[in-house]
Symmetry: C2
Subunit: 346 residues, 2 copies
């Protein structure tokens, strides 16, 4: 098993990316190919030497975090494009990048390409819940989703949740403004009808306040909604703890308690809730195992993301999707699946 | 100044609603009309007597929290419909309900009606930020918003923020998946162009992780997105504190610290972050001051919501909107404002 890693992508690249890859090489039983500027990568290696199981593939250019996707696509010798090309050519079994998400999605679609029969790509994010975890998708790859895109997500998300969360029949719900079937936007109402036609374990609608309740394994939404939801979740928690920290300075006894918990409980909690610690999000719909990490990925986040990457190869998530999903999509009601206009890339 | 209060709406009605109204009658300098079942209301009054400044208006029916809007509309003698009718007939200056939001919006549109020249209604929610507060709208009244609806929200939200947050030129942003102008769904891209044509202090796009940053006073989004964002924000904070509570049980010293903060800092924080404590959300676009409270409103939440209600009358928010906004909307580019299809009620 070989995994290409974009050593130059992410806010803390190449340092944290290289260190995370070295951690992964020790315990994941796979080979890793660090893609990027050779000198910059070597500078991060202890003694400048590559350990066993890690190789280096030079790429002269780099895609910046704020760079436009259209510009990134033209950087043919960037670590992002070169890594994606290694996946396309089957020189590796998977590719991981913590770089610019917009560029990563564009490069995946253009360089690696979509699975036959699948119309778009979707970011499948693993979120912690009180009961374990839930796959939320789309995290922001496709905005203006049509009903058929919800079906693609439902089918692919179910495969991923089976593999990742070890459940036989993942429960699927649409993120909506109410629980009743008739609630929501036109698109989600249509999506509802379509998913009802499948054999999936479809529960119907769920709401934003049930996201962490652990009532289902897959939550579906448009990439616009998913992107907002993920970012709001992350910032709400930070905001709440900021206010807590302020309250903990208000009175002497609180200050003492604050000192205690900051060194222990709060530290463990921050680690548990760290968006990046949940690591890689699979970009489903792409013809290969393509994993996107949080821009702020630390070495442990990279390690965790590479664990998800290796597990996904091992479970054969993409192979299973390739063999089953397009056929199931093709079997659905043509009228309902009909599209009036092309979706937008987010 | 007279304010009708739906005494039967909300999870804790009529008790908390009546008690909250009595608190408001003491310090808000307005008269309150409790609308609902006379016996049930009297049972909540100390000695069964109405204090000065509070009257009672009987309504025999009640709209349940889970009841469908279409059914609620047929309950002509419900506290919700009767209260709305008092506003329509100008027997009162404002109406407040903590009942079923879907029914409250439907009754507002049907019984009270929209402002001339305004196409839809939008829930303007006041959210706390690190710098003060921000008006987020739409909180869930209108899904499938068209670009023109974003303009209506921008204009009305600016008026509300001026009055409520005491700023001369409220900064307005669209909630989007990225900051660049070209990001997002088709609708928000068009909305962007339209709002640029106004004289408003429009900053462009903001993202879900900037919601609490206090960088603007008005954040605009479709009712679907706003509803999800508000519910995710609420549940993320609850989820984080649930995990913190678990961590605080893990080790003896943490347990001690936990005991201390639960009685002080956490209590104050829970109060600050309590969604309901931020009280009423103005339903903008309606031809009258119509305020919707959280279903779980306690007496203090009702008190706070009635403060927002009275302030909104005093500031003349709806009058100001009536006089200025429709003219501004009418002056915008006809091509951009054109609608291909009717919006959906959420």
């Amino acid at each position: 098993m070989r995994v290409a890693v974009d050593a130059m992508g992410g806010d803390f690249a190449p340092g944290e990316i290289v260190r995370g890859t070295l951690l992964a090489a020790r315990d994941l039983g796979a080979e890793f190919v660090l893609v990027g500027n050779e000198q910059a990568i070597r500078a991060e290696l202890p003694g400048g030497k590559l350990p066993e199981g890690v190789t280096l593939h030079n790429a002269s250019e780099q895609v910046a975090m704020g760079e436009k996707a259209t510009r990134a696509l033209r950087k043919q010798d960037s670590s992002l494009v070169v890594g994606a090309r290694l996946l396309k050519e089957r020189a590796v079994d998977a590719f991981f990048t913590a770089g610019n998400t917009g560029a990563a999605v564009a490069v995946a679609l253009t360089v690696v390409g979509k699975l036959p029969g699948i119309d778009r790509a979707y970011i499948a994010v693993l979120m912690p819940t009180t009961e374990g975890a839930v796959v939320l998708m789309d995290g922001g790859a496709t905005v203006d989703c049509k009903p058929r895109h919800f079906v693609e997500m439902a089918l692919m998300g179910s495969v991923y949740a089976k593999a990742r969360l070890k459940v036989d029949s993942p429960r699927i719900a649409i993120l909506n403004v109410g629980e009743e079937d008739a609630k929501g936007s036109k698109v989600v109402k249509e999506a509802h009808k379509l998913i009802r036609q499948t054999d999936l374990n479809f529960l119907g609608n769920t709401e934003g306040d049930r996201l962490f309740a652990g009532e289902c394994e897959v939550i579906l939404c448009d990439g616009f909604v998913g992107n907002v939801a993920l970012k709001v979740a992350e910032s709400s928690v930070k905001f709440a703890f900021k206010l807590l920290a302020r309250e903990l300075r208000a009175r002497p006894l609180d200050r003492l308690a604050g000192l205690i918990i900051k060194r222990s409980a709060m530290k463990r909690l921050a680690r548990d809730l760290d968006y990046s610690a949940h690591g890689g999000a699979l970009l489903l719909g792409i013809n290969g195992t393509y994993v996107i990490g949080h821009g702020k990925s630390s070495d442990t986040a990279v390690h965790q993301a590479l664990r998800i990457t290796v597990d996904s190869i091992r479970f054969g998530v993409v192979d299973f999707i390739r063999e089953s999903v397009p056929r199931e999509v093709a079997g659905l009601d043509k009228d309902l699946m009909q599209e009036d206009e092309a979706p937008t890339q987010g």
